[in-house]
């Protein structure tokens, strides 16, 4: 609530009402008094329905993503931070420097205004920290019961340097697979807050913008072939997709994949595999073997990459498939999940 520039008009409405999406006075007040101060940054643009942007580069990357997470606020972040980090990271994974975001809100009638204020405050802070500007947006309100409080869509635009060519098809036999840190933190943080599930320790989401680590990585290892942030579907899905796109085999080593003990314990309890659990602040990179050490050092030197590790390699065997060497020295194929992972009965 502290973030509101002029809270008085909104205090009349402690919850979102349908009129906040109607395009009238209430809509204007919401934008003027809540969104604009939170999202606008130091030099707020007019927040009109569209904006003319000056792009310093010639190669442009664009991306869009929608965020529907429950609960809306969780240890380590909120749907607001995710909405910024998610799109920033999508841009960063193609080697782009993210510059501008758009923000589309679908609000549910009855959402406490204080919750919305917290979310957009988080969102504005995340954008400022990431050095991106939220330049235009849209708000709709749906009837009570027709949404989960807030849905946010963000689109992003970034620029890509001339010499950068990052794509899954570039994965080659002999490349190594790097992972920037522990996996499963975000997914288990969310799950630990879902109804009826309580752990002794609080698992924090790893939600973070990765583009500065990407910049450091590209400076240290200019010939990075593939980058991917393993969000929904986890590391297993990302590596499967890369293996299939490039028609190469990927082999990882179970004991090299970093997993926090509390995440591993929670996964064991529920019968989930951390390899399939979502992350929001981790990246995979596939780089030529000759640049692997430099890439690893660059990741580890970054504040988000302290636990970075080389977890595997691209191989000529089993093209299109991801295979793991287990701790006891056997092999298992890791396939894509059909849908969400479901907790086992016992």
């Amino acid at each position: 609530m502290d973030e509101w520039a002029c809270p008085l008009p909104l205090r009349d409405y402690p919850t979102v009402v349908l009129g906040h999406g109607g395009g009238g006075q209430l809509s204007a007040e919401l934008v003027e008094h809540l969104f604009r101060p939170a999202l606008g940054g130091d030099d707020p643009p007019p927040l009109t329905d569209s904006t003319v942007l000056t792009l310093p580069g010639t190669r442009i990357a664009c991306s869009t993503d929608s965020f529907v997470v429950k609960p809306l606020v969780f240890p380590g972040g909120s749907i607001g931070t995710l909405a910024v980090h998610g799109t920033v990271n999508d841009l960063a994974m193609s080697g782009a420097t993210p510059l501008y975001l758009t923000a589309g809100f679908i609000l549910e009638e009855g959402l406490p205004m204080a919750t919305l204020a917290r979310i957009v405050s988080d969102m504005g802070r995340a954008a400022r920290e990431a050095g991106v500007r939220i330049v235009t947006g849209d708000t709709k309100v749906v009837e009570r019961g027709k949404g989960d409080g807030v849905y946010i869509n963000t689109a992003g635009i970034g620029v890509v340097a001339a010499n950068v060519d990052i794509a899954p098809r570039r994965a080659q036999v002999g490349d190594v697979v790097l992972l920037s840190g522990t996996i499963g933190d975000h997914g288990m943080a969310i799950m630990s807050l879902r109804e009826g599930l309580e752990f002794d320790t609080t698992i924090q989401s790893d939600s973070a913008a990765l583009h500065t680590m990407v910049a450091a990585l590209l400076a240290a290892a200019p010939d990075v072939h593939v980058m991917r942030d393993p969000t929904r579907g986890g590391v297993a899905s990302s590596l499967n997709e890369i293996a299939q796109d490039a028609q190469v085999g990927i082999q990882i080593h179970e004991e090299r994949v970093p997993v926090r003990q509390e995440v591993r314990s929670a996964c064991e309890l529920l019968g989930l595999d951390p390899l399939f659990v979502a992350n929001e602040g981790k990246m995979l990179a596939i780089v030529p073997a000759a640049q692997a050490d430099a890439a690893l050092a660059a990741m580890r030197a970054h504040r988000l990459g302290g636990n970075a590790a080389i977890i595997g390699e691209v191989v000529a065997d089993h093209p299109g498939m991801l295979v793991e060497r287990t701790t006891i020295g056997a092999r298992r194929v890791i396939t894509m999940q059909i849908g969400e992972q479901l907790p086992r009965i016992c």
């Binding site: 109804e195 065997d317 701790t327 092999r331 059909i338 907790p343 016992c346």
Partner: protein, 373 residues
Amino acid sequence: MKYLTEFRDGAIAQKLAAEIRQMTTRHWAIMEVCGGQTHSIMRNGIDQLLPSEIELIHGPGCPVCVTPLEMIDKALAIAALPNVIFCSFGDMLRVPGSDRDLFRVKSEGGDVRVVYSPLDAVQLAVQHPTKQVVFFGIGFETTAPANAMAVHLAKKQGLTNFSMLVSHVLVPPAIDAIMRSPTNRVQAFLAAGHVNSVMGFWQYPPLASQHRVPIVITGFEPLDVLEGIRRCVRQLEAGEHEVENAYERVVTFDGNRAAQALLEEVFAESDRAWRGIGVIPRSGWKLSDAYADYDAENRFDVSDIHTHESPECRSGEVLQGAIKPTDCPAFGKQCTPRTPFGATMVSSEGACAAYFNYGRVVQLERVRVRVHA
């Protein structure tokens, strides 16, 4: 926490596997009763460390797989009713009934919720007094105490809007039935440690003695399973048939007496149909007369259920160890985890789903894995 790493040590695993290879002189068929063990074997690749003479047969111990189709259809019918909150463990949602699954019912408007404990369902009943809350109580002796406690608490609190659809199955009668089958090939059992942590293993010596079959109680970590196999092979090679406890850190002879007393109060033994296998006498639990009011089958009219099992699905024979999943003509073709005919292809603990992945490894390594003698 150290239990997770201590029992996954690669060097000790290799040593155990070497011991097994050294002592094996002929083909032996060992059944791991529990789906959790199957999952561990496939997840860690334990079978790849064993000599080709050792055949691991996947038993009927996947609770999702053996829940009869009729019970799934009853669950689907109840979950589709208005004013019902239907609660289930996650992995039941994808199991196909005669014409749909719980995910489909949910997408069509049914209030189907995944819970992590039956006590959560009781809590939902407290929170929603105008709704009927139903919990799908399936599983072996492992999950039964928590389910019994849920019904016990609901009665104690006088809740009139909570009930349970009960389809519990018991391990010892299944072992007995498998050994009595004329087509049985099983020569030793890895018993399911979680079941024995509740029930102890005082019921097992008569089974081992009568059927002259070694039974070794094991846990679920790679070293637990390998040690269990080692002990089975040692007994088989020596011509012994004892009950051994290789899971002493969890299992005692008596088991959890308090849990057993609760089970005795809330449940009563009953004949029970196993999906793909048929009725095994006295192999299940239903709610006892004192708790009959909490039986969802009594509360909702689901007696007129007509099931339709895929004629192409041979999961029953798989569950009995009579065929391996890859012997089924539909395996990996019409029947995949995406388009499952039977529950064994759905559950992560199901033998067909495990083989679906495993078969791909075999194919890519171009090695022949010996499954039959």
